[in-house]
């Protein structure tokens, strides 16, 4: 960690808070931008650590957005965790609260369905981007590329619990290293 802590916390806040309002369909939509900011722009974390934190968050229960809390924690300790969580959740939650008050009128607004159906493929595209970015830092050799491809195919074709796939990936990583 470099620079004074207060400045870093302010940096976390100003980096994450705007992304809260463009997280189309959830946190995975903003992971590419967060990775770019955290790794390339601010040099808060190395690329590899970022990808590992993403993976650890996938292995834990709870909403995906907690990966952002974890990143804040790794960068700036407990204050970092608090600031990152509030920054990524605060703006979207405030908006949700305000919208909830106009609930009944919004429900009948004829554009709602168009917005929902229009956003869906964008959210999918951004989630794919997240997958590719994490794969790029994880897949250093053919064995790891095979793990990524194998897990992706299994998810596509079966309904296996994701936790088993993550466990299988970790075992495969260990096995390839030993062999």
């Amino acid at each position: 960690m470099t620079g004074d802590p207060l400045r870093m916390l302010l940096g976390l806040l100003t980096t994450f808070a705007p992304l809260s309002l463009v997280a189309v369909g959830g946190a995975n939509a903003v992971i590419p931008e967060i990775q770019h900011q955290v790794v390339a722009v601010h040099h808060w974390l190395p690329d590899r650590t970022f990808a590992e934190l993403f993976a650890i968050a996938q292995a834990a229960p709870g909403p995906n957005v907690m990966v952002v809390s974890l990143i804040g924690w790794r960068i700036a300790g407990w204050p970092g965790l608090a600031v990152a969580t509030v920054a990524i959740c605060g703006p979207s939650c405030t908006l949700a609260y305000l919208v909830a008050r106009f609930d009944a009128r919004l429900r009948r607004w004829s554009w709602m369905a168009s917005i929902r159906r229009g956003l869906a493929p964008i959210a999918v595209g951004l989630m794919l981007a997240t997958g590719v970015i994490v794969a790029r830092s994880a897949d250093h050799n053919l064995a790891m590329v095979a793990v990524t491809a194998g897990v992706a195919l299994t998810v596509l074709l079966t309904r296996v619990n994701p936790l088993w796939l993550l466990a299988a990936g970790a075992l495969a990583g260990l096995a390839f290293a030993v062999l």
Partner: protein, 189 residues
């Protein structure tokens, strides 16, 4: 006109206490590995009977349009309807606090052991698998939605711009989101 009474009935706040809100959302957060939404339906609709299935789906639709995690939005919308701002805060806190504690235990273990070569290899495999999980889930979601060709192309453009060209997200969305919504709106006519 006949819809109005049911709508009123639907918007009436379910009688849910603050502690019930917190506990129910904690349960969803803790059980929800790789997606909390299925648990939200199970707890709110099936177990507690706080919302009808139809009403839950409507709420979810609203939360999907809003930015941010759908489940956190649902916690805000449902919590505030039951108990005002305090209810929203409690529902979100329930959803995040317990899983966050679990996540931090995992993270501390990772920090302690990451220097060990065997752990590094396992984490490497875990990360490769997490990438595959994200790619597979995205492809599955996209495939199931079967969007029109133009919409699929806009999704592909979002992927290419942000994932491959690494363009900044906000300008990309400022262009693509209105394009997608208008395409959807006019394409249906």
């Amino acid at each position: 006109v006949s819809e109005i009474p049911t709508e009123r009935q639907g918007t009436a706040a379910p009688a849910v206490s603050r502690s019930d809100l917190f506990l129910a959302f904690s349960k969803m957060g803790l059980l929800g590995f790789g997606g909390v939404l299925p648990w939200a339906r199970r707890v709110v609709v099936e177990e507690r009977g706080w919302l009808s299935d139809r009403r839950f789906t409507e709420d979810l639709g609203l939360c999907q349009v809003l930015p941010g995690p759908n489940i956190v939005n649902f916690a805000v919308v449902f919590g505030s309807r039951c108990q005002g701002i305090g209810g929203a805060v409690l529902a979100v806190a329930g959803l995040l606090l317990v899983p966050l504690a679990v996540l931090l235990v995992l993270a501390v273990v990772y920090e302690q052991w990451r220097g060990v070569p065997a752990v590094q290899h396992a984490i490497g495999g875990l990360t490769a698998a997490a990438a595959g999980l994200t790619l597979g889930t995205a492809l599955k979601t996209g495939w199931r939605a079967r969007p029109a060709v133009t919409l699929a192309l806009l999704g592909a453009a979002a992927f290419a711009a942000v994932g491959l060209l690494r363009w900044p997200l906000i300008p990309v969305l400022v262009v693509l989101v209105p394009a997608a919504v208008l395409t959807e709106r006019w394409g249906r006519r």
